[in-house]
Amino acid sequence: MLNIRCPYCEEDRPEIEFRNAGEAHIARPDEPDRVDDRQWADFLYTRDNPKGWHAERWRHVHGCGRFFNAVRHSVDDRILLTYKAGEPKPDIERMLREREA
């Protein structure tokens, strides 16, 4: 069971208090009527599914109720960081380089 830091509760909490909500930073088009079928289909269905670092959404559904984002490694489950909904996607490569240094 993962140990996930909720950026709103500011505590590490057990995974079962959370629910995964898929890939992060997929914004709903502001004006859906103005995107073509291809773009709309991408918004609906196209996801990255990388082997490695992955920004994904979680909700602290059995805790504070907030949605937030986590950068998690899809192979070994390490979590690089969690951050609040609406905050920009972090520069993961840079963070890793800084961590190395």
Binding site: M1, L2, N3, P14, R28, R59, A85
Partner: protein
Amino acid sequence: MSASYRISGGSALKRERTVRFRFDGRDYVGHQGDTLASALLANGVGLFGRSFKYHRPRGIVSAGAEEPNALVGAFGPTGGFTPNLRATQVELFDGLVAESQNRWPSLDFDVGAINNWLSPLFMAGFYYKTFMGPKAAGGNWVWRQLFEPAIRAAAGLGSPPTEPDPDRYASMFAYCDLLVIGGGAAGLAAAETAANSGAQVILCDEQAEFGGWLLSEAQAEIEGRAARDWAADVVARLRGRDNVQLLTRTQAFGYFPHDFVGLCETIEDAARCRNPALPRERLWQVRAGRVVVATGAIERPLVFVDNDRPGIMLAGAAQTYLQRWGVMPGRRIVLFTACDSAYPTALALAEAGGNVVELIDLRSNVAEALSAPLRARNIAVSVGAAVTGSRGGLRLNSVEIRSVDRNGQTGAMARQLACDTLLMSGGWTPSVHLHSQARGKVAWSEEAKAFLPVARAGGPISAGACAGKFGLRAAIRSGADAALAALGAPPTVDVTPAVAEPALDLTGMVGRVPFAGDPRRGKAFVDFQNDVSARDLLLANQEGMVSIEHVKRFTTTGMATDQGKTSNLNALAIVASNLGKPVPAVGLTTFRMPYTPVSFGSFAGIGRGDQFDPIRRTPIDGWAQAQGAVFEDVGTWKRARYFPKPGEDMHQAVARECRTVRQSVGMLDASTLGKIEVVGPDAAEFLERMYVNSWRKLAPGRCRYGIMLNEAGYVIDDGVIARVAPDRFHVTTTTGGAPRVLHMMEDYLQTEWPDLKVWLTSTTEQWAVIAVQGPKAREVLAPLIEGVDLAPKALSHMAYAEGRICGVKMKLFRVSFTGELGYEVNVPADYGRAVWEAIWEQVEKYGGCAYGTESLHVLRAEKGFIIVGQETDGTVTPDDVGLSWAFGKGKGDFVGKRSLSRTDLAAAGRPQMVGLLTDNPAIVLEEGAQIVAMVNAPIGTEALGHVTSAYYSSNAGRSIALALVADGRNRLGTKLHVPMPGGSVSVTLVEPVFVDPKGERVNG
């Protein structure tokens, strides 16, 4: 019966307490502290079971969790039966009943042993080849009916229990700074070091007492005391601290991400005999700040022909049986080793009075210091020699010995040496299972002849023998260092206690013992539990398998319940040798959890029977139960399905309930309906974006039927929404959809439209909901209500009002899911039952009834109202089910809107909801049945649609059905066919309304 192999000593035994037990129908006596294995060995029982594939007789090989052979089924103190237990881990209690497995009709005479003579049939890959099935064989009756069942019956391990598990299983979540897994020398040192620093420590060990190898040690002394006494001192000190949790009989079975470790604590059976209220096991889910793994090492068998005869045992196991349980393993003992540790074993057995005849050492160079003490005791030591075979029936009676030269060639001459016991040691394999489960890497060490854990920053730290630190002093030192490293403390001066121990080289043979002649002759077992021999591995390599993962699956080596604890490294080395590669080039198979099997009960815990899932009941549930209602599960809710009168079946009850509602009045417990209060200045705007309907212009005090889509444009929920105030809506959802809808609404609010000032609260359980439906509904309610004018003009269809009923605060909705005049009375849940009973008194005056979900379904189908999840299946648009009218005119964007213009959703010919009338009005169609254009359509005919709902309607006086049919609205009036096993049923497509097509009754 005399315990003929029991000698003095045995640190685990309470000699003064004898324990009676039964094995395979015979009664035996052991002592408190015995395991089933030690007690049976003490009683001279050497035969423990038959092997998996060849049904060869097998005895005890080990003294611990790694035991591949001695699997037994046993009845616990409360009568629960468990198969596939390792006799080495079953603790005796008075009255224990156990039985051997995989033999028929008895252990001594086993019919299945004929497999041993048919063994060419059962070579590697046999099962795969057989059950994949050659086409000819698969089609052959004799094969399917006769041979395959017989083979399946003969294979396999123990039988599952036939009775429900009578035991309780407890659970505990725990947090600690340091979890130490394994309570041997390294683990004890780690735990004490950490405890001294003030850290919260959990120390667990799978055995009944802490100490690990210290309990078996015969020579070494720590601080001038026997090793086991030093262990006892450490444990006593740890027990006295309140920052240490000690768990014996506790297996760390799985290492999960983020240092979450599953422990299974077994409660001592003897204690459960005294107190049957004790649980059988307790599942610990531990989140550890850091973890020290000190799981020791497992001795390897030596792979030679017929190395599986009862009487052949690991040398370390024999030393353990001697030291801990006072058992002498045989009358005439020979040792065969490739490793130093067998020498002290031979000495200990001889010192205890054992008849140790000879020690055979595969190695040519053996230090005089090792062999001299043996020779001094008249134990012959033959170096540069190997056991190359064995003889005997149900017990070993001799071994064949040949010389081995420095090139590994065996000599031509063989001699036979009589013995009933052969103790073997092929070196020690560090137990890297948990390190590996923690996604730690391992690396081959040529020096240790083993895969050793590679430390990873922040990961578990291995200490002691599992890290290749053999020897007590090295283990203690590495345990202490590991604890300091784990807690981030600086290394201290070496405070390791003074250890006096012989210097032993614990590496040794890895692979197959040198042999004479054809490698394919004879069975030199590698994996005892799955009956995989060296020649099976050779065959796999010859058939082209070069990856160890393929070899494993082809031969099943390492795939038994012991997961190859004693066999994996030997198998790897043999494959490497066959392929002419170094061992690390062959790779290593994955270590999977659990380390040893864990009972289902432990995982299920309290989650069984009524506690499997919450069973949710409404405030009115007790009344329905008292009335004899029949309930059905709707999600996790129990809902009254119908209320049969004496003598009525469901059909009759539902027919009466439906008639009564339309003729007079009926009441339904609708409390499970999902409710969300949507509040805030932007509430209308928010609903505008979440539902297909318009909300801005809905006046306070009015309701509207709302339809919710997902972004793909499909209907996912519906419900009536009332505007309570300009900034407050009372939203209802389907019973099953409530949490999902709230989750989705929160998602949009928090992540897409955080600027909207809207706040959501689930009120599903705040309000009990009583639907009162039928032409008499107004008369029923009027005498009970204050503050609301029920007159049709004052409170018309789809109106909302607040007032009081029976003095209780009430939200009143004039809504109808039946097509009749109807109301839904909402009162605080604690008043639900009392208000229900007050309304019921009124309903009875009008000859009304209570009705359940079945009638609810019929009544709405008579009107063609959909149920989300019945008429819809996640691929249905509002237009498909005839709900285009609900769309708000001139609306902006809403969830799912863009998808409705996708070509496939806008295309002609989509499935559309229609009504179906069967030619024969008595036939009720099957829900889910397919609909086709032709009578008696052949198999494979493409369906035009399917039946979504079908009932007998007492109000229509015939069967009715709803269906989704391609282009259905253009087919109204035509005939289609529903193929059924008894022949096609002809149906006519009609408008999906069967009662009151003009919809006038709702305004009554």
